[in-house]
């Protein structure tokens, strides 16, 4: 609540001109931050409340301003709809698989690239390309790689005598293919963050481990891993929230198919809104998806608090 520009003035006697300046300073601060906050209120907060409100109506796409209040009907309908639970399950499978594989692969890549060697900068740059590539381009390339006849994946497996697989059309493989393309796209993010964390491990710890005769595996387990743990937890949280939110790559690769296997909540929202033209139901799924994100975040902060207490006690 202390309003002052200069820290050295914070304890200065509270005279009238000082008070006036202080007021003027906080006025300036409000003036500076108001455009940004106001912008987000209009373009995020207001639509968010409008979304919650829409979820209580039967609004249709053809008349977005109309629609009658139906109470919790959309919610109760969804709760008893197999399609919704299937969509939730698809979200959980997609999220769990993407987070686990992206974190494992990204961390492994960071460990391998952490040690200095010739050409390291170039190799690191190549490994970040997927992250920089626009998702639409990623989808176009993967659709072609996965193509049933002529795609390089089936062509190569064909040489080994394995028959053609419909990577994006076979219900058994749809989710796998979408997860693989996603992991390819996002693992460089994990790699970059974990690389920064690895480089913050103090050199003395490695030397101490060497003197104690620890091998590379036990050094990693006993020294590096505990040091990485807080960063790993945050990266896993970010990855989880982003996976729940992710739209583009799933939409472009499978559009929610085959047989709704990859119909995550976010894809479901879009299909309900713009194919079924049912804005009320779409908004309801959106609200439930947001609740899921918030739950994940709360669980994360619970774990975080327990872990930091444990670290403080140790």
């Amino acid at each position: 609540m202390v309003t002052t520009v200069s820290r050295s003035h914070a304890t200065a006697p509270d005279t009238a001109p000082r008070r006036r300046r202080r007021w003027r300073n906080s006025f300036t601060a409000y003036l500076l931050i108001a455009p940004a906050v106001g912008y987000l209120v209009v373009l995020l907060l207001f639509p968010l409340f409008r979304g919650i409100q829409l979820s209580l109506t039967d609004t249709k796409l053809v008349n977005p301003a109309g629609g009658d209040f139906v109470g919790a009907e959309n919610y109760t309908n969804l709760m008893s709809s197999g399609q919704f639970w299937n969509s939730l399950l698809a979200t959980l499978i997609y999220t769990a698989a993407t987070v686990v594989f992206a974190v494992l692969l990204g961390t492994a890549a960071a460990v391998f690239i952490n040690r200095p060697f010739r050409g390291r900068a170039g190799i690191r740059a190549v490994m970040t390309f997927p992250y920089a590539m626009p998702t639409v381009a990623v989808a176009l390339v993967y659709v072609w790689i996965y193509n049933q006849s002529g795609g390089v994946l089936n062509n190569s497996l064909g040489v080994l005598g394995i028959g053609q697989t419909g990577w994006l059309t076979d219900p058994q493989w749809g989710m796998f293919s979408v997860v693989l393309a996603t992991v390819w796209k996002v693992f460089p993010f994990v790699m970059l963050v974990m690389l920064a964390a690895l480089q913050s491990v103090p050199e003395e710890l490695y030397e101490a481990a060497k003197i104690d005769g620890a091998g590379p595996m036990s050094t990693f387990r006993a020294i590096v891993l505990p040091h990485l743990a807080p960063t790993l937890r945050i990266v896993a949280l970010l990855m989880t929230i982003w996976s729940i939110r992710r739209f583009e790559i799933i939409y472009l690769l499978t559009g929610g198919g085959p047989v709704e296997r990859t119909n995550t909540l976010v894809i479901n929202i879009y299909r309900r809104a713009f194919s079924d033209q049912d804005l009320g139901v779409a908004a309801t799924i959106g609200v439930l998806g947001l609740v899921l994100s918030i739950l994940v975040t709360l669980v994360f902060f619970g774990v975080e608090r327990r872990e930091s207490r444990k670290e403080a006690a140790a």
Binding site: S26, A36, Y39, R50, P64, A132, T135, A283
Partner: protein, 276 residues
């Protein structure tokens, strides 16, 4: 000694596998761009690109209106960057240099918005934009994008301003330099690298954005490249090599700029996530 050689061989092999995994789809995009449809669908795609076909690239421009789409993407990305940075510079300065009632709440609000799924907001935003007549307009798209890019820029710029010693502004103030002058003549010149990094990140968020563009822009003349290229997914009447060439032209600037500001992007991404 033996264990060490095995260990080295293991990390070398793993690294090689990872590099191939990361680079292959990009290589394949280029290789496909330099193939003909009869190779792709009949005789089988070669593992090596026919480099001589680079000369045929201009003919792609007649198959795919990629230049117009890239132009639209650039307009959207520039607009997004300018508006986003204008708002973010002021907000970051306030959050870094002032103490005021509600500061914690404002900061929390700015960053909590990043959790909202675009797909949830696209429905009410569609309704809002249709009443305001902003559908099918590039500037409407800019308005929607900035809501997601601006908080990122605030985060990067606030960290940058925090790192400047306050003493410089203090002495300017004593010399009678007004607030506005302190911001424009002292703070901004010192954070140019971070502004550049934030600009590049915001630019490519606008450049790559698909969901809002796909929903709001119906007119194919106004499509950005993301929506235009997406219209070729699962569509085989346009030669695939042309589509891949267009996709490559869309990808190239994103990768080049990412490499140029990689250091800033990485420190921006990791500032919050890495402790210790």
């Amino acid at each position: 000694m033996m264990a060490r050689i095995v260990g080295r061989a293991f990390s070398f092999t793993s690294l090689a596998v990872l590099v191939v995994f990361a680079a292959f789809p990009i290589y394949w995009m280029i290789n496909t761009a330099l193939s003909t449809d009869s190779e792709l669908y009949r005789t089988g795609q070669s593992w090596w690109p026919t480099v001589g076909r680079i000369a045929d690239i201009p003919s792609v421009l007649s198959d795919v209106p990629i230049l117009r789409w890239l132009g639209n993407s650039a307009v959207i990305a520039f607009g997004t960057t300018l508006l986003s940075l204008a708002l973010a510079v002021l907000a970051a300065y306030a959050l870094s240099r002032f103490k005021f009632y509600g500061k914690g709440v404002s900061a929390f609000f700015l960053f909590a918005t990043q959790m909202l799924p675009e797909a949830l907001l696209v429905v009410p935003l569609f309704a809002l934009f249709s009443t305001l007549g902003l559908l099918n307009e590039l500037h409407g798209l800019v308005l929607a994008n900035v809501a997601f890019t601006m908080p990122v820029a605030v985060f990067i710029l606030k960290n940058a301003i925090d790192a400047i010693p306050f003493k410089i502004e203090e002495s300017a103030r004593v010399d009678g330099c007004p607030r506005w002058g302190q911001l424009t003549m002292i703070v901004l010149p010192l954070i140019v690298p971070s502004i550049a990094a934030a600009a590049v990140i915001n630019f490519f968020d606008g450049w790559n954005e698909f969901l809002f563009a796909n929903t709001f822009i119906a007119d194919s003349e106004k499509w950005p490249a993301s929506v235009g290229l997406a219209s070729f997914v699962g569509q085989y009447s346009t030669p695939l090599s042309s589509v891949m060439t267009a996709a490559f032209l869309f990808t190239l600037p994103a990768i080049v700029f990412f490499l140029i500001v990689q250091r800033q992007i990485v420190s921006g991404l990791t500032a919050g996530a890495v402790k210790g």
